[in-house]
């Protein structure tokens, strides 16, 4: 995170991805929408309510062991939630994405994970070490995506059952997976411009409408106050929350913070590759600012709107969340919506939002996997992406059929376990990136393509 923030101010920030004459492929708004949908979309729908409620009520421990349901717990609930969804995960994505983009667009290397290891392995990276790196990245990405799709199908089925009593069994979950996969296929066939870009724009517009509705139909003044509380508590506690030593809230730290870091790290090859793919033409400064700061600001407002409303309901003794606390993560957002006007409509729009986020994840995931398995080429035949979209759905369906939540949890645990060794790889990537950018700046100054 420190390196990411420093890159915004360092002289290397003037380096443009793709060369000093490169121009961005997408408009700024479309670019923001794609960054956001790839990185975080689905989780925000479920955890924006569930996580603050969990911390406030002590569903699984509280941050710093503060007393549950206290004013201190309320402030920390918001600050700690933003801690897990703010600068830290986006810094991870920024470093991975910038490494891949720099070596691919500025050094003409293939757009694959292995290219980021060129500073370490030099030309050996095109041989067996690189094959292993890329295969691991593909397997981690597709299983991570399929697991999320499987969990998401279960959660969406729970939501549909809660609202419309359609049942939430395997049949409904399979139908959701088939539907999402079919829509992702259509998106793939329409290409990046007609597919994931359009869906991401739709997602951002719809999410914006839902957020404004929650802010203005909900406890508006409380939410505005919560934005300040969330930000200030986050800033005040970012260092203590990051301290891994001598924690009295060890159970909370391990159960939430360590889990999140491992989960974000396990997603970083996918999200990093996708962000790299859509960011050619941006300067390093623009890139890091956009990837780090903008999503954190949006997440602050989103968490404050959704989570702040939920906590207000609990404090006022209103609704299911106040009555029973957090019963099921997948239902928490809908239970919050129940206390707002037009419940049915906003809940239905919420489910559509979740499903479209799944489609964009599946689509962008297939783009990433295809790039890696096509040796770094970004113009491989569409049939290859179709294969990977179908495989993502097939894995999710097989896991649900074969073992349900237990099977999904087992695969998720494997994906998260890979987060620890990948942390070492991330540090190596950071070193390689700094070395590469510093060297590039010297070259550009020498050629007169950059002014100091």
């Amino acid at each position: 995170m420190v390196v990411s923030l420093a890159l915004i101010f360092m002289p290397v920030g003037k380096i443009r991805l793709g060369g000093q004459n490169a121009t961005p492929e997408f408009s700024t708004m479309s670019w923001f929408a794609m960054l956001f949908a790839a990185g975080m979309g689905i989780g925000l729908m479920f955890w924006a309510v569930a996580e603050p409620v969990a911390y406030y009520t002590g569903w699984y421990e509280t941050p710093f062991n503060v007393a549950a349901n206290s004013p201190e717990a309320r402030d920390l609930a918001m600050g700690a939630t933003l801690y897990h969804w703010g600068l830290h995960p986006w810094a991870i994505y920024a470093i991975v994405a910038l490494s891949l983009a720099f070596f691919a667009f500025n050094k003409n290397m293939p757009l694959t994970i292995r290219s980021a290891f060129f500073p370490l392995l030099k030309d050996k990276v095109w041989g067996w070490p690189g094959h292993i790196i890329d295969v691991l990245a593909v397997v981690a990405t597709i299983f991570g995506l399929a697991t999320s799709l499987g969990f998401g199908a279960q959660q969406a089925a729970s939501g549909l059952d809660y609202l419309f009593q359609v049942g939430s069994g395997t049949n409904v979950q399979m139908a959701i997976i088939v539907g999402v996969t079919a829509l992702a296929l259509i998106s793939v066939l329409r290409g990046l411009d007609g597919g994931v870009k359009v869906l991401s724009n739709i997602n951002m517009a719809t999410a914006g409408i839902v957020l404004f509705f929650v802010i203005f139909a909900g406890p508006t003044m409380t939410i505005l106050e919560t934005i300040w509380v969330t930000s200030s508590t986050y800033v005040a506690n970012i260092v203590p929350l990051s301290n891994p030593f001598g924690r009295e809230d060890e159970a909370w730290f391990q159960g939430w913070t360590v889990f999140y870091w491992a989960w974000w790290i396990s997603w970083s090859p996918f999200v990093g590759m996708f962000i790299a793919r859509v960011s050619k033409g941006r300067t390093v400064r623009e890139f890091v600012t956009a990837v780090l700061i903008i999503p954190t600001l949006i997440t602050t407002v989103w968490m404050s709107g959704f989570g702040g409303t939920a906590l207000e309901q609990i404090q006022q003794g209103v609704g299911v969340l106040a009555d029973k606390g957090l019963t099921e993560v997948s239902l928490a957002t809908f239970q919050m919506f129940e206390q707002l006007p037009w419940t049915g409509i906003v809940s239905f729009v919420g489910i559509i939002l979740v499903l479209v986020f799944f489609v964009t994840s599946s689509d962008s995931g297939s783009l990433v996997i295809d790039s890696i398995t096509a040796g770094g080429k970004t113009d491989a035949p569409t049939a290859q992406r179709v294969f990977w979209v179908v495989m993502e759905g097939a894995i999710a369906a097989a896991l649900i059929f074969g073992g349900g939540e237990d099977a999904l949890g087992a695969i998720q645990a494997v994906a998260i376990s890979a987060g620890l060794p990948f942390t070492a790889i991330l540090l190596l990537m950071t070193w390689g990136l700094l070395k590469g950018l510093t060297h590039e700046r010297k070259l550009l100054l020498q050629r007169g393509e950059l002014t100091s």
Binding site: W126, V139, T373, A374, Q384, G402, L443
Partner: protein, 56 residues
């Protein structure tokens, strides 16, 4: 005169140079088949040997 800086990050490797083209596709000759086989075997194996309750 300042020292001339040489580009240390140059490679002769070209994206796609190890690719194969069966049926008009464009596949890395090792990464695609290994990853595809792992995924397909996993799906077949999970369907043939379900581990527990499929309903939740």
């Amino acid at each position: 005169m300042g020292e001339v800086v040489k580009d240390e990050y140059q490679t002769d490797y070209v994206a796609g140079q190890d690719n194969i083209n069966p049926f008009g596709l464009d596949l890395h000759n090792w990464v695609f088949p290994v990853a595809a086989i792992i995924v397909v075997l996993f799906v077949i194996g999970t369907l043939m040997f379900p581990g527990g309750e499929g309903d939740s």
